[in-house]
Symmetry: C2
Subunit: 452 residues, 2 copies
């Protein structure tokens, strides 16, 4: 009996998939990266399935690549040759939702927006909202410490994670963290797993913090600026004034043109950048103040929603950004994050880089966090980004690091950014991280070659 | 030349202290624990002093016990025989304070409240505010992941820590984290150091997140309740209503009596618990709503401040809690944290435990977080808590764990709680934590015997 047949016999019928056409569909995420060939895929339905798979993988020294919905943008769930692709997408139970304690205990396959909707039935919300929230899973969000639009106010996935249930490489089950709002017993193993991209173990449940949802839908404003720098100045002024936007997004000229070419929104040719912001409604809200600060910073036009429908229309512009770019060609979506004060300079640096390397870059930024997504657009006929795109990306990464920033704000390192990683963290951090990896996964079977 | 003479020669004059009367003063924190005898104390003034000390300690296999102001309540900075007590209290520079990026880079000896005051000169604040904020250091706060009164709104020390500079046991200098609001390059080493109680390395600088200070001083309210359960119900109602208190503190009957015996505040004998809450002033503030919710939950009396002076007077009651107890005897200050919904039951459990073991327990709680500080009062003549106090503490710990809680919300494990640690975390977490320790400190010289 070969190893895969043995695994299939250990798991419920239909759990192990071996048809190459089928396993190929499990082998990649949303990047262009060409995956290796998996041995098989496992559709886990329970923690026991995960335990069985990992015990077997340890026994047979088979690499394990965990995956959720495959919406990753850094190659974290790309197959390596001879691996088992372990899908957690079928573990979709919300095991518990406690309004009194404002926590939920969920399995990793729960879709982010589904948890948010379940919470809202109790007047609560799940705050982290990556742009992929309708399609990405909590497990994937945990693996990359996903951010999102609202994280300017509520923080990233780590800030909403209280505890985890993890299956280690050898099949042992570990509980980390707690159900309480704070605690400091031993090292922060929860924080270690969040953002570890499947390299330390497989998360099979998470205790997450929910928050009270605002009583009324937020007020949205959109402001058009004659330069990215003016928009950056408005962001700085909004933060300095103590406003607390729920989201604060910036779109550059190229992004706006891509949207206009597609949807004909009537964009004024002089508009070089747009800010979209949301504030809580009501007397403590900041919409009017933010609008005034945008005008003071030189906005040529500011619209503030007066109804939920108008709010939806304005935020809808932001949602068009990514699909509009995909119409232009294949996309390398990057994810640098800089100190907020460096945002205008970083936008300028990206524009200069684009010109220098004759590359099309459209940038959207979670401006309140200094987190920019420069999207490098290239010929759809190419299997991967051409050399000028890589050269431009390299320049953007280095500019972000020079500005005191980071390679990745919320997408993770995956495979894509590994070659730049130690530019940021230095060799000593790399050595320590490899040491930690060794403690949790001495055989090196957990998502090898990723993240660290 | 013996080892200590050699160290003294390597460091600036006056840095190494060997007079036993002097080193004894460095050998303990605020617990009753009897320390070992240090070899010497080092008053570090710079990162270089720390590097030199740790290189020397590695060479000579000398245990190193880092300390800040010695305000710890779990024995984390208690000397072991033959150790060097490494004081960071003299590293007091605020290296940078950037209003634009809302960050500060500080050395570990900076007093918490001094950083807050420096931030307020720019309209900012440093949010974590342990009760010891006027005397404890940022380094100590980081070592224990300190919480405080405001953490119900702003989170604990980890939530304000973006990056660290750490000297490892062998003297190598590690930079962790970043200056940006988010990032996910490699494992979260920053989170690993926060709360590690000096067992992984010595923090020599921290990049901390500041926040905009509210424009107006908060409104304070005090509410008296006929039972702890009614106060607990009010806490639940306040949270469920979506109020966002800046602090939400509960004092039990014994605490109130201790304050009244001392300061004669005219306490009504029927009052069994008091809530002290603060809300932001202004239209978005919640003081009036919280007052109404307290009345609905059965408060016999509610006072809401109308001036900053009245606010100070009400919050002053809370500040009296700890000194009032110290008048009663020696104190074992505990620190359990439970899910918020378990708060009333936990208060009842503590009262029953006190009766069963004929022990005086006064409880103050950061009620909004479910974090209780039962203070076990015992005869000042005793060197350490008598058996009935330990038996009662054991029961309280187990009750907290049974309620889904934790042994320590914000004080750390130190020496005091080590024997209960694996009751909470289990043996597997213990094994992994020892593995992590081994990666950072293979010789085991960093604060041996503490935290894990």
């Amino acid at each position: 009996m070969n190893a895969v047949t043995e695994l299939a016999a250990l798991l419920p019928a239909g759990t192990v998939l071996t048809d190459p056409d089928v396993t190929a569909a499990y082998a990649r995420d949303q990047t262009f990266l060409v995956p290796g060939t998996p041995l098989c895929a496992v559709k886990a339905r329970s923690r026991d399935d995960v335990v069985t798979t990992l015990r077997w993988a340890t026994e047979h020294r088979v690499p394990v690549v965990p995956r959720g919905a495959g919406t990753g943008l850094a190659g974290g769930a790309t197959a390596v040759d001879g691996c088992v692709m372990l899908s957690l997408a079928g573990m979709t139970a919300i095991r518990e939702l406690s309004p009194a304690d404002e926590i939920a205990v969920v399995e990793p396959g729960v879709i982010n927006a589904d948890l948010d909707r379940a919470a809202r039935r109790h007047g609560l919300m799940y705050a982290p909202d990556p742009s992929s929230h309708e399609i990405s899973t909590i497990g994937g969000n945990l693996a990359t410490n996903a951010g999102g639009l609202r994280c300017v106010k509520y923080g990233v996935t780590r800030d909403s994670t209280l505890g985890l249930e993890v299956v280690l490489a050898d099949g042992r089950v570990l509980a980390t963290g707690r159900r309480t709002m704070k605690g400091v017993t031993g090292y922060d193993l929860t924080g270690l797993f969040v953002g570890s991209e499947g390299t330390l173990g497989v998360i099979t449940a998470a205790t997450l913090r929910l928050r009270r949802a605002p009583a009324a839908p937020p007020v949205t404003l959109a402001a058009e600026f004659p330069s990215p720098r003016a928009a950056g100045d408005a962001v700085a002024a909004i933060i300095a004034a103590g406003c607390r936007p729920v989201l604060l997004e910036l779109m550059d000229r190229n992004t706006l043109r891509a949207i206009d070419d597609w949807k004909h929104i009537g964009l004024d040719p002089g508009v070089q950048a747009m800010l979209i912001a949301q504030a809580e409604a009501g007397p403590g809200g900041d919409a009017a103040r933010m609008a005034r600060l945008c005008e003071d910073a030189g906005a040529s036009f500011v619209a503030v929603s007066t109804t939920p429908e108008e709010a939806e229309e304005l935020i809808g512009l932001r949602r068009l950004a990514y699909p509009a770019k995909e119409r232009l060609g294949a996309c390398l979506v990057e994810d640098v994050c800089v100190p907020r004060s460096a945002l205008p300079d970083m936008i300028t640096a990206i524009e200069e880089t684009a010109a220098r390397h004759a590359t099309m870059i459209c940038t959207v930024a979670h401006a309140g966090d200094g987190n920019l997504h420069p999207v490098f657009v290239f010929d759809r006929g190419l299997a991967e980004p051409p050399p000028n795109v890589w050269a431009a990306a390299d320049e953007v990464f280095r500019a972000a690091l020079d500005a005191g920033g980071t390679l990745t704000g919320e997408h993770g390192v995956g495979l894509l950014k590994r070659r730049w990683l130690e530019l940021e963290t230095g060799p000593l951090a790399g050595e320590l991280q490899r040491g930690i990896k060794q403690v949790f996964d001495p055989l090196g079977i957990m998502n090898p070659g990723k993240a660290i």
